[in-house]
Symmetry: C2
Subunit: 438 residues, 2 copies
């Protein structure tokens, strides 16, 4: 008998594999932060013992959810400006509010609240794009959540940097400082084609290749963005990025509501990744990413919530459901984006986009123990013909009972173990009071 740190014994395990498996009466053995076995309960009990055996009789265990696009700090602007056209929302509300309020303390407060929300909702890894990414990294390390923090680059000056060189240098310094982190990685995060120049994008393309580092960028979010670019430069932003050497396996293209067939083929050929943010696209009426078509063309498509000011939550369970429902109407087929595909988008595909699929994204021996237990005993998820159907179409985030990242239990029966939730909320409320009164 081998002694391990933890044994989890759920009703179901949904590993997220090519066979769309659902294992009933299986368990997971965890040691030194890693999954050391996934096997039937009887086999597991015969091979392993542990002081920590977690019985989860009504639960399904899934891989930790990967939120592949967010701006965590923007939780502090949640609900500040709703039901507005995107240009008004961005130019008249969000950008002025950011110019006025964003600081290191703001990012600290917003990230802390976001991590509380994400962990309680089963998200174990998030891909962030915001100012003060060093603070986002620190906050993530402190609470034990996994993160990829964006080395943000914008052509114009902000509180974080004065010009592209400083943005890039501060990003690279952060990257160096995180070399030994097991939880936090970095990627380049040029904001969008319309806010970053050709020379800067070229420099990012070269650095991305040299360092084998992903590039996270808003792209083709609205028809207006594409039309304006065509009007000004004669080419679509995606084509421009292609010319600049950015369309490759390191590209994480966020939104992509405007896509021609040859662009979809191009994405597939270059093994680029699309990050679909359905709720944000709907709320801002940005457009419809052809998620079903991308799947059928073999493009890796992951899911993100976007920031809380355009969603308005960081709930990946809800995002899966919306992605699946929305895809069915966009593709005019109820068969489009079935439940297991939605779950794969929210887990393994996110890990692939972040180039972290050797570590996370599925429940496999050898991978990090980033797993989530979901309690199916709520009347809304009963009776249960298929746990995957219940998870995608009926579950709410409060059914997340337990969350482990690298084997560490960050949510224990619904309660956060590494974040003082009430303190996070109080700090956020103080920010809200200041912002409201201004």
């Amino acid at each position: 008998m081998e002694n391990v740190e933890q044994i989890l014994l759920p009703r179901w395990i949904i590993p997220v594999d090519d066979e769309n498996s659902i294992h009933e009466d299986f368990g997971i053995a965890i040691n030194a932060g890693r999954i050391v076995a996934v096997a039937s309960k009887s086999e597991l009990k015969a091979r392993y013992c542990s002081d920590s055996v977690v019985e989860l009789a009504e639960h399904a265990i899934i891989p930790g959810l990967v939120n592949a696009h967010t701006h965590a700090s923007m939780t502090l602007f949640r609900g500040l400006a709703d039901d507005l056209p995107m240009p008004v929302w961005l130019n008249e509300h969000i950008w002025p509010a950011e110019a006025k309020w964003v600081s290191r303390e703001f990012v600290q407060a917003g990230t802390s609240l976001a991590c509380a929300e994400m962990l309680r909702g089963g998200t174990t890894c998030f891909n962030d794009m915001y100012f003060f990414p060093d603070t986002v990294a620190e906050q993530s390390e402190a609470c034990g959540i996994r993160a990829c923090v964006g080395m943000i680059v914008i052509e114009f000056p902000t509180i974080w940097a004065k010009d592209p060189n400083e943005y890039i240098q501060k990003g690279l310094d952060l990257r160096s400082s995180l070399e030994k982190s097991t939880l936090v990685t970095t990627c380049f995060a040029p904001h969008a084609p319309y806010t970053v120049s050709d020379p800067t994008l070229t420099q990012i393309a070269e650095l991305s290749s040299e360092l084998n580092c992903q590039v996270h960028i808003h792209l083709h979010e609205t028809a207006e963005e594409v039309e304006r670019a065509v009007c000004e430069s004669g080419i679509r932003p995606f084509e421009r990025l292609n010319h600049l050497g950015l369309v490759n396996q390191r590209l994480m293209a966020v939104h992509m509501t405007q896509l021609k067939t040859h662009e979809i083929q191009n994405l597939a050929e270059h093994a680029s990744h699309v990050i679909h943010c359905p709720e944000s696209n709907l709320k801002l009426s940005s457009g419809s990413c052809p998620a079903g078509e991308l799947v059928s063309h073999g493009v890796n498509i992951a899911l993100g919530t976007d920031g809380a000011s355009s969603n308005n939550d960081l709930d990946m369970l809800g995002e899966m459901r919306t992605a699946s429902l929305f895809a069915k109407i966009v593709s005019e087929s109820a068969e489009s984006l079935d439940a297991y595909t939605a779950l794969r988008m929210a887990t393994l595909n996110g890990a692939k986009a972040l180039n972290l699929d050797h570590e996370i994204g599925s429940i496999e021996t050898g991978k990090s123990a980033d797993v989530v237990a979901l309690d199916l005993s709520h009347p809304a998820t009963q009776p249960c013909y298929s746990p995957v159907s219940q998870i995608v179409y009926s579950m709410s985030r409060d059914q997340v009972s337990d969350v482990w990242v690298a084997g560490k239990r960050l949510v224990n029966e619904g309660a956060l173990t590494t974040i003082d939730e009430q303190q996070s909320i109080t700090v956020a409320q103080n920010w809200c009071n200041r912002i409201s009164q201004s």
Copy 2:
């Protein structure tokens, strides 16, 4: 000082009125099941006293949610057949399963589970269309939820009745038996234009007028339904109903994904009601009801979840969010169907459709005390610039803390007081096991 049965003291009251009011630091006095005062806390405390004062410091109180279209018993088929085209789903899965399994016991079990789910999600009234409506009525009375049970009519024989005359007679008998009920009402529920003949619909139109009784019918759910009707009869189903005298202030037309401008005008002129079921329409890829356009034409539009086999839950908070998000993309305007409008659709508009707005649907002195307390202290609904935004765009059903129907507290700090939830689930699981193994 007047003594009253209960005083509720929430942080906010959202009454759902024409001014889109949000009252901060107000309270509600309840006596004999009715709202006797809505006033500032100081005024309320000066005028009323009670042995039961409920402090809800972090909460908003809204009118009870009205699920204006469901088939409650179908919770027992939740997740039985997902990701399938509507004709396959209906003809090859749902109808055969109904033919095989539906019985009085099935309806009892399914309704009990549905009521548990609905009450815990803040739904205080539902409009049902299913077999054995007498059992649905009994179950509703037993747990204290408000319901409008459909006097179902289908042209062909089922376990409930052998021909249209029997369907109608059984419905009218049920209606008589419920005359004294304060919770359960009835309406005519001819299933759909394609399953009910002209003579039967004519008879229903006459009875509806005579008895001043609403008519609840699936209508223009898909483009195929309309095309087939035009092909077979030369006219669209809505036009046919108009000819038969059914388009008036008693019509509750469910789905309406296919609408021409003159039809929208016709609905507005006749003060007919549209019941929008966005999640069902998305999941079955049925089509897009032009919700924003209906609102701007002044049509009363309410919200329904449809049955749990095409949604897959009975969550009206989620349905509000989906309605608002979906409307923004359908109407290509982020301003379409703002948060307060979505809340009105889920409350007062549902009450109007059911001709119950003199009793329920808003928080007003004299109306029945059908109210719901929502706890905003979850990190996903913090900080709070506007409680209505948080309720529609960020809240999950588990934040429903307390529910009152006619002044009776049916959910107390998240727990059901009139339904044995575990028993309901166990019975539902037994049905699931039988159905799965067959």
